[in-house]
């Protein structure tokens, strides 16, 4: 187990090097720098060439990209993710600020997805071929094909515009309308109301996908002889479904769960942007737009580490759910 973990970690570090090097190179290759993008074409904010040159030197933009990458890497090894160029604060504190709101939405969505997808998948495989299952599956498929950004706009129109003034009205965007010194129960209730639409958007697509995934896996397992063995023993239909069939579909599910770990803190760029939710996805989007290299790199590093960790976690979980698998 120890050598296995060590091998995985070494392999992971190598992967991280490749990813970050690639992303840094690409970010620097994008036209513009933090200075030009930030100042834009506004003539009143025009910097004279000497000042521009000075700032370029300060931020290390005068050196070629591989030198910049080496410098960034050296700082990372010392535990320093650097400072955001456009926001004038350390990348770590930026992340710390944004991770909570993202986690709130993604975590709630993830819990909802699994709480709903598993019963739905089991129901669909138990009633496979019947009219009610086919209707449900068709509906889920329609939902799955419906783009999030369109759904988000529809939801905004319905709940924030058409239903304005009714008890069903929901906030259009943002995380809270109350000042920071409002009493906490009111603040929490307000945040919860703001969360409803983003969470709905993030849940429905994955729900449709996951329940279909579970159903497909269940149908495969339900054809196996050991399901007949169980029925021959006299095992009831519900128990056959859960204990004999569902347990055998856990491996692909664990993979799916492992892969959803990065999304948990990565958030959804589109949803956070539409609902102006102050989370990681939006930070990532903005940092790319502003060519804020340290922030781009800090977030890239974090997402990559989480993706690798999710995969490792899935592999370790395999052993827990399948006696035939050993990490050795």
């Amino acid at each position: 187990m120890a050598t296995y973990l060590l091998r995985r970690v070494l392999l992971g570090v190598l992967t991280l090097l490749v990813i970050t090097c690639f992303v840094y190179g690409l970010a620097r290759a994008m036209p513009g720098t933090p200075l030009t993008v930030q100042l834009g074409e506004d003539p009143s904010r025009k910097l004279n060439p000497e000042d521009q040159e000075r700032l370029r030197r300060i931020y290390g933009l005068d050196k070629p990209w591989y030198m910049g990458y080496a410098q960034w890497l050296g700082n990372v090894v010392r535990g320093d993710l650097g400072r955001s160029i456009t926001r004038k604060q350390p990348v770590t504190s930026l992340i710390a600020e944004r991770i909570g709101p993202t986690f709130l939405v993604s975590g709630t969505a993830l819990v909802l997805i699994w709480l709903l997808a598993i019963p739905l998948g089991l129901y669909a495989s138990a009633r496979s071929g019947h009219a009610d299952e086919r209707t449900t599956s068709l509906l889920l498929y329609v939902l799955y094909s419906f783009p999030t950004f369109v759904a988000a706009l529809f939801l905004q129109v319905i709940f924030s515009v058409w239903l304005r003034g009714t008890p069903w009205e929901l906030p259009l965007f943002g995380m809270t309308d109350l000042p920071a010194d409002a009493p906490w129960p009111a603040r929490w209730a307000d945040v919860a109301r703001h969360m409803i639409l983003p969470v709905t958007c993030q849940t429905y697509v994955a729900l449709a996908y996951d329940s279909r995934f579970i159903k497909a896996n269940m149908e495969e397992v339900l054809r196996q002889d050991y399901i007949r063995t169980a029925r021959a023993k006299g095992v009831g239909p519900w128990r056959v479904l859960v204990r004999h069939a569902f347990r055998n579909t856990l491996i692909p599910l664990v993979t799916l769960l492992g892969l959803s770990l990065p999304a948990l803190v990565g958030g959804s760029v589109i949803i956070e942007q539409i609902f102006t939710w102050p989370g990681m996805g939006r930070l990532f989007f903005e940092s790319i737009r502003e060519r804020d290299y340290p922030t781009i790199m800090g977030l890239t590093l974090m997402f990559s580490v989480l993706t690798l960790l999710g995969q490792l976690l899935a592999d370790v979980l395999y052993c827990a759910v399948d006696p035939r698998v050993s990490v050795e």
Partner: protein, 388 residues
């Protein structure tokens, strides 16, 4: 088919039909049916073993599963120990399930890979409320012991065992519920030749010890001859011939049975033998031929065979469905052996056969090799494609 000593049969199957609907199109309408089992009658007395033989796809496995209600039959009646199996549901069906068990062909697929042997064996006991924890442990130990597996197997998972060991566990799994009747669905076909004999002998031993009744499904005639008291030959969802193993081995009356037996390799290389090679493929069970189902491949087919479904001809419990066999029996004054000999002659005289000399390698094959071929469906392939 009649019970000779007056005791009612433990299993009585009448007119069993199991059709699987074929659904097509957007609305998944039923456009037809695969008639996997299409009118099967069987009787089985307590303590006896009935072998069902036939090619792949003849419906023998579906018969076994229908009797246990693992697939739902379309029509017919099944009586087990006086109870109407098809009319039973819920708790009553569960009680019946304990008394009728099954061992599947593939021991790699029939044991749930997530469960320990203990969980696999104990589940049935718990469901049927058989004994407290200590009594259950004792039953499991004894079932494993009888099948030649150590008690330590309980804590292990199926993947830790070989195929033969797994099949022993599958048998122990069935036996632990102390059933009266066991369907053995090709229980040795997936096993290595050297293991086949061990498992067959184990099954025979267990039958004597517990007075079990077996329905032994196989495509391997040599194995069936060894274990079964009676044999039913199935073709395309029907039983075409049924009799004691002895009757069938000595005096097969149906042309299909002749073809099947002629394909069994013999140990004695000097024995003169004619191989009957059937021409053509088995017709689709969704569109079975009219009249006798065997007529498109039968070398003796007559005009009547194409239109009239041959009725049962019963000769001391030896039942055959064949127009030609019925006429031969009449001509021989009901002497089965003479009729069988004339049938063999007639088959030999018709087209689509080769003399023994044409396949010397087959005839000279040692016994062990012969069994291996049987296990790997080689014989069935020969039967269909014709010629070696």
């Amino acid at each position: 088919m009649t019970t000779r000593n007056g005791e009612p049969p433990i299993l009585e199957v009448r007119g069993l039909e199991t059709h699987f609907p074929i659904r097509r199109g957007l609305l998944r309408r039923t456009v037809g049916a695969v008639r996997a089992v299409d009118g099967v009658n069987l009787d089985l007395r307590r303590g006896r073993t009935l072998g069902i033989v036939g090619e792949s796809g003849c419906g023998k496995t579906t018969v076994g599963r229908s009797i246990l209600r693992l697939v739902e039959p379309t029509a017919g009646t099944i009586r087990f120990a006086g109870e109407d199996v098809l009319a039973t549901n819920g708790a009553a069906l569960r009680r019946l399930r304990r008394r009728m068990q099954i061992v599947f062909q593939d021991p790699y697929g029939s044991l749930n890979p997530r469960l320990t042997v203990r969980a696999i064996l104990e589940e049935g006991l718990v469901i049927h409320g058989l004994g407290d924890a200590a009594a259950r442990a004792e039953r499991m130990r004894s079932a494993l012991d009888r099948t030649g597996m150590p008690a330590a197997s309980l804590e292990r998972y199926p993947h830790e065992f070989s195929g033969g060991q797994r099949q022993r566990i599958a048998i122990a799994r069935a036996l632990v519920l102390e059933p009266e009747f066991v369907v053995l669905d090709e229980p040795v076909s997936a096993l290595d030749v050297s293991i086949q004999a061990q498992v067959i002998n184990l099954l025979v031993e267990l039958r004597e010890q517990f007075g079990l009744t077996y329905l032994f499904i196989s495509h391997d005639l040599s194995v069936v001859e060894h274990i079964a008291d009676e044999v039913a030959v199935m073709y395309l969802g029907r039983v075409v011939e049924h009799g004691s193993t002895d009757q069938l081995a000595r005096a097969p009356l149906h042309p299909y049975t002749h073809a099947l037996f002629s394909a069994v390799p013999h140990v004695d290389p000097t024995r003169r033998r004619r191989r009957i090679v059937l021409v053509g493929d088995v017709p689709s069970p969704s569109h079975p031929p009219a009249g006798c189902r065997f007529h498109p491949r039968c070398p003796l087919a007559e005009p009547a065979c194409r239109t009239i479904d041959p009725p049962a001809t019963d000769l001391d419990g030896h039942v055959v469905h064949c127009h030609v066999a019925a006429r031969l029996l009449e001509q021989c004054d009901g002497d089965g052996a003479r009729a069988a000999a004339r049938m063999a002659e007639a088959m030999a005289g018709m087209a689509g056969m080769t003399a023994a000399g044409a396949a010397p390698a087959q005839d000279a094959a040692p016994a062990g090799l012969a069994i291996q071929q049987a296990g790997s469906h080689a014989r069935e392939g020969e039967l269909r494609r014709g010629g070696s």
